[in-house]
């Protein structure tokens, strides 16, 4: 606030009058209250999940087979669900990340101002907002009805979910790479593919990997796409391509409404595991951005 030189008066014009100042203070307090309001549920949920889930976690919990529902949490564990989450999400990532990166490359490097590129960009954006349940129903309709339930169907649904996210984040990262880099490479006689693969992508790789990891974190926690595609089972199924499978997220969904304390405890333990996986991925993504992203917004 600039101090206005006053004449010989007692009014100090540096400070706003009472009511204006109060309004300002209320507004500032309001903003801090908004922040606190957001902290409350976050703290509450983390407190609950850690409190109820931590006691269940053990190596046995993460690897042993799923016991019958009525048994307490000291028996068995959620091994098949951990396996399912990792393998189904892993396979979905294997499908979605390369395709997403290529799609982002198309929009930014080859698309230019063409209508097709802008249309794809726009619809990739729209597709990020499609509810995950739609992806599950979609894969149910075109895959499960013909080939049955399987972990692979779940991976397909998750890949549909991840694809637009990876495309968008790749596109954003590639945009930040300065054109001078590309022009210098062209001047040296390289083809477009070579420039993209050996110069542009490595320059943006930090941001791209970090964006991909966030997409993986999101997919690992998704339940709705899996409910319609993997036909949840209790036993370990190592074959991704045939037969029902299970995952941490669907196990939590099933056990949430069970009346047995053992089943609920397994749900809390799985919730903690899932949050841990998502957090770790997020932190790794942030670290990669901090250390390897050469160009930041």
């Amino acid at each position: 606030m600039m101090a206005i030189a006053s004449e010989q008066q007692t009014v100090d014009l540096r400070e706003p009058s009472g009511w204006r100042r109060t309004k300002n203070q209320i507004a500032t307090v309001g903003m801090w209250v908004a922040f606190a309001v957001m902290l409350v549920p976050l703290g509450f949920v983390l407190f609950t999940v850690i409190g109820k889930g931590a006691s269940a976690i053990s190596w046995q919990f993460l690897t042993a087979p799923i016991p019958i529902n009525v048994l307490p949490v000291t028996f068995g564990g959620v091994g098949p669900a951990v396996y399912g989450t990792l393998v189904i999400t892993g396979f979905a990532s294997l499908m979605a990340i390369p395709l997403g990166v290529l799609g982002g490359v198309y929009i930014n490097e080859y698309g230019g101002n063409q209508v097709l590129a802008r249309v794809i960009n726009f619809f990739a954006d729209v597709m990020t907002g499609v509810p995950s349940i739609i992806m599950g129903l979609f894969i149910f309709t075109i895959w499960v009805l013909h080939y049955g339930y399987s972990g692979f169907a779940g991976s397909l649904a998750l890949a549909c979910l991840m694809l637009p996210i990876v495309i968008r984040s790749t596109y954003e990262m590639l945009r930040l790479v300065p054109d001078s880099l590309r022009e210098a490479s062209y001047a040296l006689g390289a083809t477009k593919a070579r420039v993209t693969l050996t110069v542009v992508l490595p320059a943006a790789i930090g941001g791209i990997v970090s964006g991909a990891l966030l997409a993986v974190a999101r997919a690992a926690g998704e339940t709705a796409p899996l409910v319609f595609t993997i036909l949840v089972t209790q036993t370990l199924n190592k074959n991704l391509f045939s037969g029902a499978n299970t995952a941490l997220s669907t196990l939590i969904f099933q056990n949430a409404t069970q009346p047995y304390t053992g089943a609920q405890a397994r749900a809390w333990g799985s919730a903690l595991t899932l949050i841990a996986i998502a957090f770790i991925l997020m932190i790794v993504a942030r670290l990669i951005t901090a250390r390897f992203a050469r160009y930041d917004r």
């Binding site: 908004a34 997403g100 597709m127 509810p131 974190a217 949050i275």
Partner: protein
Amino acid sequence: MSIAAKADPATPAGSASPLTKRRPFGDRTFQVLCLAAGLLVLIILALIAISMTQQSVTWFTTAGWSGVFSTNWDPAHGAYGALPFIYGTLVTAAIAIVIAFPVSLGIALLLTEVVPGRYARPVVYVIDLLAVVPSVVWGLWGFLVLAPWLQKIYQSIASGLTGVPVLSTFFGGTSVSGTSFFTTGLILAIMITPIVTSLSREIIATVPTIDREGAYALGATRWEMIRGAVWPHSQAGVVGAVLLGLGRAMGETIAAALVIGSSATITTHLFNPGYSMPSVIANEFGEATVGEFRSALIGMGVLLFVLTIIINLSARAIVDRSARRTRGA
């Protein structure tokens, strides 16, 4: 992925310039590959629309428009009216927006105007933490912890408001287990806050500094500056952000399925249990082996898809337009 990154067709020293040669095979393959990957987006969206509409035709033709939009949902007797679920989806999303909008805007303003750059980072991390908690965990916590706790609060509010004219129609009901429209709206609000906040932040950050400084120069308090310089510029963009949050709230499935109460009734009592489109699809799909039942559920999926696409389209259009306008200043 095996990309055919063939070696650059080596131009032996002294031969014609590479610019006059045909584009090498590897280069073209790569471009086609990228194009195919990009087209996948359009293909998938089209397939979703086509295949799901196909599956839901049975419902539309058997029930007709009056059946589809009736309030009678009774699968055991062949009635598949979707109105209670449409109502529930809209109501819970509306509650979510009403709660999330001021909170998100407040945090966004906090980050852009109040907190200096260095300290903004921890706040952003906290918002990211909120965003990364999976939906099913919110549902688990909501069902086992929040709902029982809220049940007592609903009861006291409802009994305290008996007889009060307007308020009791909305807040006079109660739910035996705490699961209700309002509980769902609350959880949805928590879940959409991160996305609305980060988008609002981006919008507000595009307000030119010169306008801010001008306001301060004229002696405005921070609040007056926000009202006078920031808000007019970012108004439209924030509306777009809110619309995006709305779209997300409408589509949120698992958390809603667990805390909404699974009761297909239309009522103004927000503390009563209800049902929404994604929730009923998730909860009842396992039992829907009869043709029309499953067709009805997929049909509701189509309705949801169309609704969220429309909302997202408008949201993006508004956000893009507002961003373009301010950037020019």
